[in-house]
Symmetry: C2
Subunit: 217 residues, 2 copies
DNA sequence: ATGGGCGCAATGTGATCACAAATCGCACAA
DNA sequence: TTGTGCGATTTGTGATCACATTGCGCCCAT
């Protein structure tokens, strides 16, 4: 702001990168509704940086679909058409079973217990009607499993799909009154225990597809 | 450079966007070897813009994997490990058959003839040992087919995989002496003619996998 | 009260500058 | 000849500024 050269340049974390990661996480977790408008100066003020780093963060987020850029350069979270939502769901249904399948041979007891703990957290958040928390915990469940697949490119790609769906998921889940942990999460854990690869693929695919299917209404 | 406000702001094409698209195309088509270093000022000079637009273009390209950013902020084309190459090939093998399958019911004679024309072009480029041209025509073959799938998100995702593989493909194909059009391209066209969906999936998967398989050497 | 038009505020874009870190080269010593 | 340290140049980062355009609000006329 007034300080001419305050922060050390880049070693710990460049400003633009800090803005990027923070914004990305918040979008992915559904903290913004679809179509939410933002301004470069506003983002800059939000993180106490100038326009330059916030512009760079926005560029990256636009590149992976987390933000939309209007023809005049205005920034906003995406408003997805039904076709686009179904397509993104199809991508998830294609990749995530593959990730789960690759994780299966490496899924030891400690991992399964961690997944069950997350399911417990989800149950609490459902009871509290904490939608943002629910989305975050739900994604954490999937990410925890997929990390075992040792497939970073596939995981990164999946996360950009989650990012694109973030605002829509928030809008979707907020008009949905969940009462319990998704049944498919329990099926996933059970299939992991049993080493049942086809069952695991099916459960993951169902879990991914079910939430987005009610958009067709 | 010296001009204070020369170009009209953004309507036709913002400078950063022009730089982004040009650079992205060149990387995807394999015009740079893996590990090729670049500088923001150099990119700016290359397109006759200042550092600001080239920085933004680089940010976007880093976001979708077309460029790597070292810890000190240095920019270079990615040098992929064998594991990463195999993973990207697996992603292609997962998504591209799906795209082809979705394109199949919409593939009329005009499309098939366009694909055959591209195959003819590929034959010429193979004869001329034009690697960059070969990669470009090869990707054009796939993109022409996939455009019919009416699945823009899937296609965009596939293109980012191509982008990541660009420099590696160039390095790979240049130490490979092709003598003819890939057999699988002809199989793809034949399966389209016959309306043979399983055969199409198999041909696409084989075509995608074969080129990258010899990396395991 | 409503609709249209004008003007100003807000916003994105790109150039430039100052600065810090990193990298490279060269000289000197072992 | 080879390894090491120092200094200059290169390079990325972030702030700021000028400017064009967009869009919003307000005012006036009907």
């Amino acid at each position: 702001m007034i300080t001419p050269t305050p922060r050390q340049s880049d070693s710990p974390s460049a400003a633009h990168d800090r803005v990027y990661r923070a914004l990305r996480t918040r979008i992915m977790h559904g903290e913004f509704p679809p179509g939410q408008a933002m301004t470069l100066r506003g983002i800059g003020k939000m993180f106490d940086v100038s326009m330059t780093p916030s512009r760079e963060a926005v560029r990256r987020l636009v590149a992976d679909g987390g933000l939309n850029l209007s023809a005049s350069g205005r920034v906003s979270t995406p408003e997805l058409s039904n076709e686009r939502i179904e397509e993104l769901a199809a991508i998830r249904a294609l990749i995530e079973p593959e990730l789960a399948s690759r994780a299966l041979p490496r899924a030891h007891m400690a991992l399964i217990e961690r997944l069950q703990t997350i399911n417990g957290t989800i149950a609490e958040l459902v009871a509290k009607h904490d939608d943002v928390g629910y989305i975050r915990a739900n994604l954490e469940f999937h990410r925890t499993l997929y990390l075992r697949a040792q497939a970073p490119a596939m995981l990164a790609l999946t996360e950009t799909v989650w990012l694109q769906l973030g605002p829509t998921m928030r809008a979707l889940y907020s008009r949905l009154n969940r009462t319990e942990v998704p049944h498919n999460h329990r099926l996933i854990v059970a299939a992991l225990r049993a080493g049942d690869e086809p069952g695991l693929r099916l459960a993951v695919r169902s879990d991914v597809t079910q939430g987005l299917r009610m958009l067709a209404v």
